[in-house]
């Protein structure tokens, strides 16, 4: 039986006490965003831009709720300052579940332009980065959430088209 990735990600968020999630949508993330919206144990606050979302996450964290941002890789550019001068400077843990658009299987050429810069930007920012390519990679999600809290860093989990299509 194929893994229900949306459900599995939600279960791991709950198991790891993530109580606040902000999202900026992506087609690939639609299912998981819906799961989060319908889940009473998580406060879901959609944001209009990803750096705004990082501000929300910091506030929630200081209020006692572990937080997570769900976003597209195309937005990494607008978050560089927030990542550097807020998340990293003050040492806030921030798991970033990122739809990795522009990889093999992509239909829109423009998405490739940011895909090319995604890993170099994250590397330049010294952000621990994990790439989920096969559905079974989701097995590590819970441990990555724990690692994020332990290290008090922003941590990127890139999830590509092959991962969301079930590896088929």
């Amino acid at each position: 039986m194929p893994i229900n990735l949306d459900r599995r990600i939600l279960d791991e968020l709950i198991a790891n006490d993530i109580e606040f999630v902000t999202t900026v949508p992506c087609k690939q993330l639609a299912g998981v965003i819906l799961e989060i919206e319908n889940e009473d144990r998580i406060l879901h606050v959609p944001s209009n831009r990803e750096d705004e979302g990082m501000g929300l996450c910091v506030g929630a964290y200081m209020g006692g709720k572990k937080s997570c941002i769900i976003m597209q890789n195309t937005a990494i550019g607008v978050t560089i300052n927030a990542l550097s001068t807020l998340i990293q400077f003050y040492q806030f843990p921030l798991p970033m579940l990122i739809s990795f658009r522009g990889e093999v299987g992509e239909a829109i050429a423009c998405q490739v332009e940011m895909a090319i810069h995604t890993k170099p930007l994250l590397a330049e920012m010294n952000i621990p980065t994990y790439h989920f390519h096969n559905p079974s990679d989701v097995e590590e999600f819970g441990d990555i959430l724990k690692y994020t809290q332990m290290s008090k860093k922003p941590v990127a989990i890139l999830t590509d088209s092959n991962f969301w299509r079930g590896g088929g």
Partner: protein
């Protein structure tokens, strides 16, 4: 009155509250006038003060005041629809609108021309938006705190700065002492809830 005079005037009201303070001179001035563990000073990330304030207000019960500037809210106007649509009645967004980028040398912002932040906040769906002049800031803020309604205050004042020094606290110290303060309040509230239940 300029921003520093507005800040000085509201210190007695905010001193014992959780405050998220805008980057640059506003934080440096607040640090100078009334440093408290309950103040979270922004050292960077211009524009995210309102968003941090909302996230904090939505996640615990104590009152939260975010002290914003016109320049900084203009860089993150997207925060206002999020605030309007995720109502936290323990949240006051206090925008000090001096129609200028004070920290960079008082270059004019658009709020001194055609743009009204009061109008923007209302159009974004914020239900309780109050515009006041600098002299009336303490009254407006006190009323907002007592109303238990999420309120956006746009306080119009003059540009101009006073000499201040940079904040020497490390960011992790600012974070840690602020979080301890949030936790202390949460414990206190739980104790009060328990006592109220018992009586």
């Amino acid at each position: 009155m300029n921003r520093s005079e507005v800040l000085k005037a509201i210190v007695p009201i905010i001193s014992d509250e959780l405050v998220i303070c805008n980057v640059g001179l506003p934080s440096q001035e607040l640090f100078l006038f009334d440093d408290q563990p309950s103040n979270f000073y922004m050292l960077g990330a211009m524009g995210l003060c309102s968003s941090i304030g909302l996230g904090l207000a939505l996640s615990q019960y104590s009152k939260v005041i975010a002290i914003e500037g016109d320049g900084s809210i203009l860089t993150n106007l997207g925060a206002l629809p999020t605030i309007a649509n995720n109502v936290a009645n323990n949240f006051v967004l206090f925008i000090i609108d001096n129609s200028s980028y004070g920290s960079t040398g008082d270059q004019p912002t658009y709020t001194g021309k055609k743009t009204s932040l009061t109008g923007v906040a209302a159009a974004c769906g914020c239900e309780c938006v109050v515009e006041c002049q600098a002299e009336d800031a303490p009254d407006a803020l006190r009323a907002a705190m007592e109303s238990d309604r999420m309120t956006v205050i746009v306080c119009k004042c003059q540009p101009g700065n006073i000499p201040v020094s940079v904040i020497e606290l490390s960011p992790v110290t600012i974070r840690d002492r602020f979080v301890s303060e949030v936790e202390r309040r949460a414990v206190k509230q739980k104790r009060v809830q328990k006592l109220t239940k018992l009586s």
